[in-house]
Symmetry: C2
Subunit: 189 residues, 2 copies
């Protein structure tokens, strides 16, 4: 981000297009068009189309990884940690849904190096979440259901929240957090 604001503008506009059609279906001409310039001019600010994707995804992935590590080492009960994870996801969803879309759907189009690091971070994240769930089951705070089912029920809901937050939009964030925590933890009955 040395060049500052123009580059960031490109990343922001590109991310909107990526969310709509996916990284591969968006051309640098498309990005240039919404910026109001020619495709060639983009290359004064970025090195490649792939760099835009990496800027979007890798920063967010590091944020999730760091957030999870921080929550993990708190002196709270497993259930309180799960609540914190849910709230972190909601905060990120509300403020950065385009980056989230790219992270979910287009990580496989990262360059080799970033992709390897991304997969490592994602596995690290899931493993930390898994440990929290295990501990909760051991301590009797969480029901003894298949931990993988619990893990992915919660994660898949959180990961795809960006898809409908805006549509059904402008649900108050605190209401959303409260009800989402209730649904995911206590169920619907």
């Amino acid at each position: 981000m040395r060049t500052g604001t123009r580059k960031e503008e490109i990343v922001v506009e590109a991310s909107k297009l990526f969310k709509e059609k996916g990284y591969s279906a968006v051309s640098v001409r498309d990005i240039a068009q919404v910026m109001g310039i020619k495709a060639a001019s983009l290359y004064n600010h970025i090195d490649s189309k792939q760099e835009i994707l990496a800027l979007l995804i890798m920063e967010l992935a590091r944020e999730f990884t760091e957030g999870m590590r921080e929550i993990r080492q708190r002196s709270e009960t497993p259930l309180e940690k799960i609540r914190a994870v849910i709230e972190m996801h909601i905060d990120i969803t509300v403020s950065r849904s385009e980056a989230l879309a790219a992270l979910n759907n287009d990580w496989m189009h990262l360059g080799e190096e970033d992709r390897v690091e991304f997969v490592r971070m994602r596995e690290d994240y899931e493993e930390n979440f898994r440990q929290v769930i295990h501990k909760g089951i051991q301590e009797g705070e969480i029901r003894n259901l298949h931990p993988e089912v619990i893990l992915f029920s919660i994660l898949s809901t959180l990961r795809t929240l960006y898809l409908w937050y805006q549509k059904r939009g402008k649900l108050d964030v605190n209401v959303l957090k409260k009800d989402m925590v209730a649904v995911l933890i206590q169920g619907i009955v």
Copy 2:
């Protein structure tokens, strides 16, 4: 499917590639290669790349729509209907994960006509699900939480189940159904 088996083979192989990289990142040359033939030869069996996508998505979308309508008109309680929807999704996930991936991620690359029909079917599906949840809340069978939060918590979990069913794979389908119903309906505590 007039031509029968060869065309279906193409759709099957293409769907695997679409799941990995997304429709737009897969070329007809890629598809031809895994079939062991040249790209031009594909066109003796299909009219276009887009036709493959439509065959994959539209059939499955109709199946979901029909399945939901059938469940909706049963003489069961709302909660039993939700259980039935969950089990339908799991059955489809287990047997057709590639088509499900295309339906989730690549529907926007359908031709205009199919895309309009697809969106209509998806809205119809969600509206039916919404009505079931509303009825459950009215009758006191379901907790009085924001219905949209309930709807999308369940739907997003079911829709992305295909992403991890194989990895964590070979979980017995009946165990999966049991635990998934338990997690989604009764929560984890």
